[in-house]
Amino acid sequence: MTAPAYNKPLLDVRGLTIEIETRRGPAVIVDGINLTVGKGETVGVVGESGCGKSLTMLSLVRLLPNKIKVRGGTAVFDGRDLLQMSKSELRQVRGGKIGFVFQDPMTSLNPVMRIGDQLCEPLIYHRDMKKADARKRAIELLKLVGIPGPEQRIDAYPHELSGGMRQRVMIAIGLACDPELLIADEPTTALDVTIQAQIVDLVKELRRKLGMSVVWITHDLALIAGLVDRVAVLYAGTVVEDAPVGELFKRPTHPYTRGLLASIPKLSDERASRLSSIGGTPPEPGRRPKGCPFAPRCGLAEPICHEHVPALLSFAEEPRHRVACFVAQRQMMEAA
């Protein structure tokens, strides 16, 4: 596969900071995330539960829950800052230019609406389609995401479909208006292992056909290894490593990434629990350490790690590989 040109990214998030209001005052949840997604690129965002993956994505279309606010940063999409644009512009982006697929297909579809109507809604709203045309397009979309008998299924209610089917419907809804960017927030977590692989294959296929950019959020690095072009590893609301997928598997550098990779269960490995090799838990919002957020759990931590926050810096020989770790950066310098 030839890598698409990434000179002008489709989405360029810089210094995105998100806070939650607590009784003890505001607490930082996402701390200055930098993330780019090129046109046609597929980026995996990986990190433990609670590290801020979902909130980061929701903040892009300004759908944060009450009490959680963006404190700073920019998110330029197609030349416009999503965090500043007007409500009406934003509504055109939601669903029209950025499509979402959510984690839980059981609860992310409206239980009292036929799936066809849920599919037609964005078409009628964003594309000004007539009801009949929207229905035709909806059947096409269901066919596209591999739902057998779309002419009948279109009139089904969500509870009449299996989990995997529902997730396909969600993907069809996300893709309804040909978005330039599809954000899939752990779309397979709630599904059986075999169905997970089917969904990954489906998105791979769709991306090839439709050429949209994809952000795929997961905590399962192994699952998306064959799908994504690039991986950004998130820890406690910051990007700690960012590299093309092959490079990351060949040369994982940040101690947290290494822990993630080591904890991918081998076939012979009985311990299926994720991240079992990294002791401890991520910091709670409001109790972030002063220096490197990973320091309390890091085996390589040095005094400087507890004092200063490492910046995300590029490798000399592979500028697309960036890491935020003092020790790794020093080793890079020494190797150079």
Binding site: L58, L63, G96, S108, P111, E121, S162, M170
Partner: protein, 318 residues
């Protein structure tokens, strides 16, 4: 490449439809079915009343005053010789008209205010809830009496003045003033529970993933409220509407009984009971007929409401 996505799908057993399921549960409940049958029967009586009544409900026949039930007059006659059965049938019409109009208005107000308060939250929510609590804190009867006392005379006087000025017979139909005041005052005191119920529902539904998903699709708030939130709040609302219809009938009778509701000669169970009460030692049928029908209606709505509650909230029942 062969579409990998078309490979074998194992469809889990799809559960039966939510509503069909609810119907099944409702029909298994004997009391609820009995309630439903009675409610439907009374509704039909109300609807087709004019074709069912053996006599005109207003026609007085002084030769057959205060007769006990007989074949000619199944429920007997009253002190003016009017057929009690015909009056009870018209009373059913009154009860249903009042209950349906009042409940419709109350539900419309309650759903709109409750949905807005729950969805938007913040100051709007606090204002609406303050208003709701305030309305709820006023004693029902007091409010109705005050409305009647303060509005009835001026409105009737105004109607009379209009009639004198225009000679339009419409203004002589004071029945409508009666009804409007009854509808208005009862709707005013009936909407707050619906607003609270819907608000609580909306608060819980608002945070559900499918609502976030709908917002992520860029749909407007209006569309989201109407198609994603309100329909999902409908189950508990149906239960409370069924109970509310029964309550409204009882309220109408109670107010009419006390003389602040529907006034004679328009028949209402309440004012018939009130009339019957004065002579019940001599002519018990005058009290028994309307009281029995009122009791039947109340019990039927209450059984139906309970049955709906169990059918629509399977987890809440045992």
């Amino acid at each position: 490449m062969a579409p990998a996505n078309l490979t074998a799908f194992v469809d889990e057993d799809p559960p039966v439809s939510l509503w069909r399921d609810a119907w099944h549960r409702l029909f298994r409940n004997k009391l609820a079915v009995a309630g439903l049958v009675i409610v439907i029967f009374l509704a039909l009586v109300a609807m087709f009343g004019p074709w069912l009544t053996p006599y005109d409900f207003l026609t007085q026949n002084l030769e057959v005053r205060n007769q006990a039930p007989s074949l000619a007059h199944l429920f007997g006659t009253d002190d003016l010789g009017r057929d009690v059965l015909s009056r009870v049938i018209y009373g059913t019409r009154t009860a249903f008209v009042v209950a349906i109009v009042v409940t419709t208005v109350a539900v419309a107000i309650g759903v709109a205010l409750g949905a807005i308060a729950g969805y938007y939250g913040g100051l709007l929510d606090r204002t609406i809830m303050w208003f709701t609590d305030m309305t709820m804190s006023v004693p029902n009867l007091l409010l109705v009496v005050v409305i009647n006392a303060s509005l009835k005379t001026p409105v009737t006087a105004w109607m009379e003045a209009q009639y004198q000025a225009t000679l339009n017979p419409f203004y002589r139909q004071t029945v409508w003033v009666d009804f409007l005041l009854v509808f208005g005052s009862m709707a005013l005191i009936s909407w707050p529970p619906y607003a609270r119920l819907v608000r609580a529902q909306v608060l819980s539904i608002r945070g559900r993933p499918y609502v976030t998903a709908a917002r992520a699709l860029g749909l407007t708030n209006r569309l989201i409220i109407m198609r994603y939130i309100v329909p999902n709040a409908v189950g508990p609302l149906i239960v409370s509407v069924s109970a509310g219809l029964g309550t409204a009938m009882v309220l109408e009778s109670a107010f009419s009984f006390l003389g602040v509701g529907v006034n004679p000669p328009t028949p209402s169970w309440g004012n018939m009971i009130s009339d019957g009460l004065r002579v019940w030692q001599h002519y018990p049928h005058l009290l028994a007929a309307p009281a029995a029908v009122l009791g039947l209606a109340t019990v039927a709505f209450s059984f139906l409401g309970d049955g709906l509650n169990d059918a629509l909230n399977p987890r809440g029942s045992k």
